[in-house]
């Protein structure tokens, strides 16, 4: 899989500048209202502004103007920090998407005009922005493809490194499952005609940018549920603060408005409230960094819940093609003779299997005497191929039954030990190729699927996450089982037809499971649509891309594994920061509550366990801590909490310790340090 990542620094100068500006623009009440927690901080800030004006006008019961102005400023900064977190996440996502989009802006396009029912060679060069959906354009070697589209005729090699970062060219051709081309990529050879599949501003990237910018961003189900929980905590603390007024009156303690507002702002979960939307955007952004375009935030979230992954064998679990792994000469044949025969039979064989036989033989091919030899091509009828040397020797290699027929027809017998070997190879998931010389069996070659290095560990990791992996293959059940066992997948679908995938998905879903699959062909489209997370390869057909809810620009079948982790990270980041935010309140209570009542109930000094300087400095320190913790956690919100596949209970323990216990302890230290600093001024 490709490991290239577009690494922009977390806080890039230009992005920060834009985000700072956005933080102020987002102060519009309508925008603020979307986040109930931060909206109430906003109201608190306005109240403090009013109090400051009131004091300026001569009110004396509310403390000094400087102190109130400081509280007001800190609250205002708190609101700005929340906005900034969202803005920087948006800016990063947008920059990422823009860099992808930039490649395709205004490239000249060779548009073909349709006259009557026929395409004629009337061709004009127009800017790509003038291409509409359904238009047809021509691309020749050296051209940059102006728009996303589908090849309607021709075949070409294309350099897709602009979007995938993979420098090896790929082949795209009309018909079949590899007919899609992407704007911004470059044709290296040949000529293709392409039909535009998306209008300007409608590509998946455009849609994703709209999602990131917030124009069409909707809260995901988990985000809504969390917002409700946070809102209820906010109301609980509103009740705490409102009822404190009569309680304080009972205790004959005057409490200033600044103290009430500060206590309130400190208690409500501003940390998670300020970072919540940034976390969601960062999730989509991380997907994009993995070169996956998501069509909704919900898809990323769902990915974290996946129970079952359907993976194609070829390309995901095994390296594309089979390889020769062993030569088994028949009795009485020396290894050297057999190896040479094998090499000879494959000299003209350009298939990957043939090449792998030459590789395994480790002979210098040029030294073999093939002058004047004729090569026998593989045909569906003979199901064998080979070579006829000038000395009359005929060497053939082929499937077990076709060679057996040939040999027995010539009156020779098929050696038992070779027949045995053939069976052993088959049951080990390999493919046997029998080699004969002049209708006598020489031995058998074993071809094996090569399982990708490291794939077992990845499946093990998935298993620990609770995700079941299913291998989809056209192989017979025997071979499929062998490879499945070897690669460590949990289940397999052998001799799979497109509808088998669909049925499997439906069956899993009936059992309440969430299923993901990756596909590229038009016949994959229904299954992609049925799957909870359908990842279409960017090289796939337009139908497939339309049906899925993610598009993988790298066409990398192992990408599903990364997507699951991104989804889990997203949910975990929300959960851990919520825990952290709530746990922080313990220390804030110990800072503020003694401060409020210490004048009337001196005994409460015992609760001032942080030994803060004065009531004012205690309140101020708590509010400042509450504000600066937001920007300090932005990197975590953007990068996400690291996911470790160690099982749910262990993971919960770990996160409870770090973010729960840590969340209790950190503010005690933080507030004390700030207080030491603040005390210098009060």
């Amino acid at each position: 899989m490709s490991q290239h990542k577009r690494n922009t620094k977390l806080f890039e100068g230009s992005l920060v500048k834009g985000a700072l500006k956005q933080s102020f623009i987002k102060l519009k009440p309508g925008v603020m209202l979307k986040n109930p927690v931060m909206f109430t901080v906003y109201i608190g800030t306005l109240i403090m502004l009013g109090v400051c004006i009131w004091i300026a006008a001569g009110q004396t019961s509310q403390g000094s103007l400087a102190y109130n102005l400081t509280i007001f400023s800190v609250l205002f900064i708190t609101v700005l920090f929340g906005n900034f977190a969202e803005a920087i996440a948006e800016a990063r996502g947008k920059a990422q998407a823009d860099s992808l989009r930039k490649t395709r802006e205004d490239t000249p396009a060779k548009k073909i005009f349709l006259i009557g029912d026929n395409f004629v060679n009337e061709m004009k060069i127009v800017p790509s922005s003038q291409l509409a959906k359904g238009d047809i354009f021509l691309c020749e070697a050296g051209d940059t493809i102006p728009m996303d589209g589908e090849i309607i005729s021709g075949i070409a090699t294309i350099d897709e490194s602009a979007i995938t970062g993979e420098s090896a060219p790929v082949i795209r051709e009309a018909g079949g499952d590899k007919s899609s081309v992407t704007g911004g990529t470059k044709v290296l050879s040949d000529k293709i005609q392409v039909r535009v599949t998306t209008g300007p501003g409608e590509s998946f990237l455009d849609k994703m940018i709209a999602l990131v910018e917030g124009a069409s961003r909707q809260k995901t189900p988990n985000e809504i549920a969390l917002t409700i929980l946070l809102a209820s905590f906010t109301i609980i603390f509103l009740i705490v603060v409102v009822t404190l007024k009569p309680f304080a009156d009972y205790a004959n303690t005057p409490i200033t408005i600044a103290a009430f507002v500060s206590l309130y702002v400190c208690l409500i979960p501003t940390t998670i409230g300020g970072l919540l939307s940034a976390i969601g955007i960062a999730g989509m952004d991380r997907a994009l960094r993995a070169n996956v375009i998501t069509k909704s935030g919900k898809a990323v979230e769902t990915a974290g819940d996946l129970d079952t992954l359907l993976l194609d064998k070829t390309g995901t679990i095994t390296i594309g093609n089979r390889k020769a792994t062993n030569f088994y000469p028949a009795n009485g044949i020396t290894a050297a003779t057999f190896t040479e025969a094998c090499a000879l039979s494959s000299i003209a064989d350009q298939t990957p299997e043939g090449k792998s036989i030459i590789e395994l033989a480790k002979l210098d091919v040029s030294k073999l005497n093939t002058n004047g030899a004729t090569f026998v091509e593989f045909t569906a009828e003979t199901r064998s191929s080979g070579i006829n040397l000038t000395n009359g020797t005929k060497i053939r290699k082929g499937a077990f039954d076709s060679i057996r027929n040939m040999v027995t027809k010539a009156g020779n017998s098929f050696p038992n030990e070779t027949a045995e070997q053939v069976k052993v190879i088959s049951s080990n998931g390999g493919t046997p190729l029998v080699v004969s010389e002049n209708n006598k069996v020489l031995g058998v070659i074993e071809l094996q699927d090569i399982i990708k290095p490291g794939i077992q560990e990845r499946f093990e990791r998935l298993r620990k996450m609770g995700v079941k992996t299913v291998m989809v293959t056209g192989d017979n059940p025997l071979t499929a089982r062998f490879i499945a066992d070897k690669a460590g997948v949990d289940d397999f679908i052998a001799e799979a037809k497109p509808e088998d995938k669909m049925n499997y998905i439906k069956q899993e879903q009936q059992g309440g499971k969430l299923v993901a699959m990756m596909g590229d062909g038009t016949n994959d489209a229904p299954a992609l649509a049925q799957a909870d997370v359908g990842v279409a390869m960017n090289s796939g057909t337009a139908a497939a891309k339309e049906a899925g809810n993610m598009v993988d620009l790298d066409n990398d079948p192992t990408k599903l594994i990364e997507i699951v982790e991104i989804g889990k990270q997203l949910l975990m980041t929300r959960g851990t920061l919520t825990t952290f935010s709530i746990a922080n309140d313990v220390a804030k209570y110990f800072a503020i509550v003694p401060a409020l009542f210490i004048t009337s109930i001196p005994a409460l000094q015992a609760l001032n366990i942080m030994n803060l300087h004065s009531p004012e400095s205690a309140i101020l320190s708590a509010v400042i801590f509450n504000a600066i913790i937001i920007p300090m956690l932005i990197p975590l919100a953007l990068k996400g909490v690291a996911y470790k596949p160690i099982g749910a209970s262990a993971l919960l323990r770990r996160n409870l310790l770090i973010y729960g216990l840590g969340g209790v302890i950190v503010p005690f230290i933080g507030i004390k340090l700030i207080d030491l600093f603040v005390a210098l001024f009060i």
């Binding site: 549920a225 969390l226 009740i239 009972y250 609770g466 995700v467 109930i601 993971l651 409870l656």
Partner: protein, 570 residues
């Protein structure tokens, strides 16, 4: 070891020991398996027939709650009417008068909601008729209502996907005929043999050691005292509740009453495990609740046994511990134990005056009621705990990177909303009520009421604040114990606590049953290794942490102004 402490430990162990077989029996009753009480069958069928009930018909959560609320409303009017007119009804040998409207309102609600907050004294406030047909009757049906609601939750958890939470009438009736009635009879007989009165003869008179003749109130009390504990009701026959020598004559009856009040809450927990076949889950909850209980009980007993530091400062020996407000026949250890048991499980019966407990013991009693889920009331304790579980599942689920699930069902916005509302409600009722009381006390102390707000409190300062806070806490938790020292029989307290009682009872039943119904309807998701394990110790710790942190954050300021300030000022 100190014999007083041994008494406490033996009482608790006996409770758990007896709860286990009872739990097996309860699980069998509601699963419809054969039990030795099947001889009640014809009687139940007779009740269903005359009431026109089809006891086999399943109910979804809405139907279940509708049935429950309807019948509860009916009982409310019935009780209110009888209390208003009790003087002219039979069985009134002591000639007690009708109850005032505001007090009847409060009393009817208080017993309907299983709270048994008493702003009257039984000796003069009620007649034998209303003691039996209002008080004792409501003590049975309110306990059965709680059990029925819990069984609805069990049914929701038992099946992979179902809309059927069981038939309310069937579960409710069987709760009485199979559980409450038989066990009460046993307890009542033991109590009667140990000296609790069971007589219809009216007041008796005795000659005291000083030679005075004193009239002693009696009545058919033993049966009522049995169900008062078994159903976690707590309302006493006599004003002094289980501190009264006839209501709780000996240390042995004290143990019996302690076991009686705690046995069903614990048995319901075990029964959950048997009924839904997830014993480990039930034991995990039991462990969390027991640890929570110990956190409250151990320091309380310690403080009470060490006596009052203020008295110690005067140089007075307190060899027997803090004895103010305690009965000599019980002593501080079992009294401290009782004060926590009665507050965590919403009984509210008392064998000592909580007002006289050490300040921090008083806080422990308040915490018991604020949490209200360490075992909790008859049936409803599990419902309260369920709300905490939902919140823990939600936060914990996110923390392991999955959409939160509980027992194979996704916890989504709607369930979180209900759980959040229920959590909010307690904070709102308790602190809103206390704030209102504090407001009237401070701003309108001399309002022209029958009892002036300024005359409410027997103690000024922090302790007075605790009295008010305790009263609303007790009402919201449907506990019913009082800090006393509060002039609570007047229109303000009768009406405000009346509303708090109603809301604090029914919303926390409606919420969890609704969540159970909503979740049970959803598609079942099989567990995987990525799923949060709700029967693991880690999840238990998370739930415990959530309980502590929600309670601490919601109530820190009033606890500081009440008991903590009082303690620090000592």
């Amino acid at each position: 070891m100190n014999t007083e402490l041994i008494g406490v430990i033996v009482t608790f162990l006996l409770t758990v020991l007896l709860a286990y077989p009872l739990a097996k029996y309860i699980a069998k009753v509601f699963a419809g398996e054969r039990t030795f009480t099947d001889f009640m069958n014809p009687m139940e069928r007779f009740i269903y027939r005359i009431s026109g009930i089809d006891s086999k018909k399943g109910m979804n959560w809405k139907e279940f709650l509708t049935a429950m609320l309807m019948i509860n409303m009916l009982w409310l009017f019935y009780a209110f009417f009888l209390l208003l007119n009790q003087a002219s009804l039979p069985l009134n040998p002591d000639g007690n008068p009708n109850m005032a409207p505001d007090l009847s309102f409060n009393t009817a609600i208080s017993f309907l909601v299983n709270c048994n907050l008493q702003h009257y004294s039984g000796e003069i406030g009620l007649t034998y008729f209303t003691q039996l047909f209002v008080i004792t009757f409501l003590q049975f049906v309110s306990a059965a209502t709680g059990i029925a609601a819990a069984v609805a939750l069990f049914n929701g958890l038992k099946h992979k996907t179902t809309e059927n939470l069981g038939n309310f009438w069937d579960i409710f009736t069987k709760s009485i005929t199979r559980i409450l009635l038989p066990v009460s009879i046993v307890i009542a007989v033991i109590l009667a043999f140990n000296g609790s009165p069971a007589s219809y003869d009216g007041k008796d008179s005795i000659v005291t050691l000083q030679g005075d003749t004193v009239a002693v109130s009696r009545g058919p009390a033993a049966g009522m005292i049995a169900i008062k504990h078994l159903g976690t009701n707590g309302g006493g026959w006599f004003g002094a509740n289980s501190a009264h020598p006839l209501e709780n004559p000996t240390y042995f009856t004290g143990m019996l009453e302690l076991i009686a009040q705690m046995i069903i809450p614990i048995a319901m927990l075990f029964a959950l495990g048997f009924y839904i076949r997830r014993k480990k889950f039930a034991y995990m909850i039991f462990a969390v609740m027991t640890i929570g209980m110990l956190f409250l009980i151990v320091p309380t007993i310690n403080w009470e046994m060490h006596g009052n530091p203020e008295i110690a400062k005067m140089g007075i020996m307190q060899a027997t511990g803090a004895m103010e407000g305690k009965e000599v026949r019980f002593g501080p250890a079992i009294s401290g134990y009782w004060s926590i048991v009665t507050t965590i499980i919403s009984t509210g019966s008392v064998n000592s005056m909580h007002d006289s407990s050490m300040p921090l013991s008083g806080m422990m009693q308040m915490l018991g009621m604020l949490i209200n889920a360490f075992y909790g009331g008859c049936g409803v304790g599990i419902l309260n705990y369920y709300i905490y579980i939902i919140i823990a599942v939600f936060i914990g689920g996110l923390m392991v990177g999955r959409t939160p699930e509980f027992m194979g069902h996704k916890v989504e916005a709607r369930e979180v909303k209900i759980a959040a509302l229920v959590t909010l409600l307690s904070a709102f009722l308790i602190k809103g009520g206390t704030a209102l009381a504090a407001y009237y006390f401070v701003q309108h102390g001399n309002a022209d009421w029958a009892v002036k707000p300024s005359a409410w409190l027997n103690n000024p300062g922090n302790h007075g604040f605790s009295e008010m806070f305790y009263e609303f806490t007790s009402s919201n938790a449907n506990n019913g114990s009082g800090f006393e020292g509060l002039g609570d029989n007047n229109i303000f307290w009768n009406v405000t606590t009346g509303f708090v009682l109603l809301l604090g009872r029914f919303l926390p039943i409606i919420g969890p049953v609704a969540i159970a119904g909503l979740l049970a309807k959803k598609k079942y998701i099989p567990e995987s290794s990525g799923t949060l394990k709700v029967d693991s110790a880690t999840f238990g710790i998370l739930t415990f942490a959530i309980i502590i942190i929600i309670t601490a954050l919601s109530y820190f300021p009033p606890l500081v102004l009440g008991p903590i300030a009082e303690y620090l000022g000592m």
